[in-house]
């Protein structure tokens, strides 16, 4: 089984189990402040890291490295669109189009 299949199937099964867990455990779990704090902050830290890595990481012959390119402009455009409360799809397409146009230029 390829790495992609393993990630897809294990990831999908695990994500469903996490959902079932939430519907099944006693509600007082949430009352623990530390649990609530970590659970609220985890997506923030991970999504921010994904934004950064997706925008600035690149693979070279020597391995992964940081690079500044058209993706950063795309991210800037996305941020501007979010500031004016554009819908999700507009933000994504706007970010992509900005990077694509910059590469054409």
């Amino acid at each position: 089984m390829s790495a992609a299949w393993a990630a897809v199937l294990v990831g999908a099964a695990g994500c469903w189990l996490l959902k079932v867990l939430g519907l099944s455990v006693p509600a007082r779990w949430l009352a623990r402040p530390r649990v609530a704090a970590v659970a609220a902050l985890l997506p923030v830290a991970l999504l921010a890291a994904l934004v950064a890595v997706q925008t600035a990481a690149t693979s070279t012959a020597e391995g992964p490295a940081l690079a500044l390119d058209a993706r950063l402009a795309g991210l800037g455009a996305a941020a501007l669109l979010l500031l004016v409360r554009a819908p999700f799809l507009v933000v994504v397409v706007g970010g992509a189009a900005t990077a694509a146009l910059l590469r054409l230029a």
């Binding site: 992609a4 897809v8 469903w16 996490l18 923030v44 830290a45 990481a57 992964p64 994504v92």
Partner: protein
């Protein structure tokens, strides 16, 4: 369907809600209709961006089948984008699945909130769990959904499920059709920038307090610092450590309203 004479009491019915039990059946039906409409609107808005996931997933190297199975079985957008992003960057299966799972933990939190509202057991709970996502939770727990939480949850969850999967297929087929052409390089269409934009859009509504903004900055900094010195996938997982550290140290009150957008 026809909605005769819908008055604007969607948002402001709270004060009347517990008052009169009789004679408000019509109002109750209108409230329910408003919840259904909200759920369908959210489903449409969210489902359509499945097209961006489908396109990004196949250009990251997944097959159309793998892409569609992710939307059908994993069915939680941020985790799907993360899994594809890590695999596309050359990360291994463990790092990809682990990142998806860590992002999926917030659905556990949603489940805790939803459990008393839904009151489902057995196979119904197993099925309902599949629909526990950002959007269904947001509609079900909105003040305007009071008394109609199950309706809000089901309508939103099912409409997102159907449309998200349909549009994932559209995006995956479009991405595949481009293969072999100059457009096959994801950079030509800026699809590599689209992934970052998607993550930013998912992050944005969570940046509601100073603490969350600082955690976001620290998470990004940790990840960037580790990119040149670790395997793909590790920087993102390591950023999760920032959340553990801050969550263990910070006063929960400084997180803002319930920590959810």
């Amino acid at each position: 369907m026809s909605a005769p004479g819908h008055e604007h009491h969607d948002e402001h019915h709270d004060e009347h809600h517990d008052g009169h039990r009789d004679g408000n059946r019509g109002a109750n039906r209108d409230e329910r209709r408003a919840v259904v409409r909200a759920g369908l609107a959210v489903g449409l808005a969210t489902g359509t961006y499945g097209v961006s996931f489908g396109a990004v997933a196949v250009t990251s190297g997944l097959s159309v089948l793998q892409t569609c199975l992710l939307s059908l079985l994993m069915f939680t957008g941020a985790s799907q984008f993360a899994l594809v992003g890590v695999l596309g960057a050359g990360g291994g299966a463990v790092a990809a699945a682990a990142t998806a799972l860590l992002l999926g933990t917030r659905n556990t939190l949603y489940g805790l909130r939803l459990a008393p509202l839904l009151g489902v057991r057995g196979w119904r709970r197993a099925a309902a769990a599949h629909l526990v996502i950002d959007e269904s939770t947001a509609v079900a727990t909105a003040p305007a959904s009071r008394g109609h939480e199950r309706t809000g949850f089901l309508v939103t969850g099912v409409s997102v499920l159907v449309l998200w999967n349909a549009f994932t297929l559209v995006g995956a087929l479009a991405g595949t059709a481009l293969a072999g052409s100059p457009w096959a390089d994801p950079r030509t269409l800026g699809l590599d920038a689209a992934v970052g934009a998607a993550f930013l859009a998912l992050l944005w509504p969570r940046l509601t307090s100073t603490t969350t903004r600082l955690v976001a900055l620290a998470g990004a900094a940790v990840a960037l610092g580790l990119v040149p010195v670790t395997l793909a996938g590790v920087p993102v997982l390591a950023a999760g450590g920032v959340a553990l550290l801050v969550g263990a140290l910070v006063r929960p009150a400084s997180l803002g309203s319930e920590g959810r957008s």
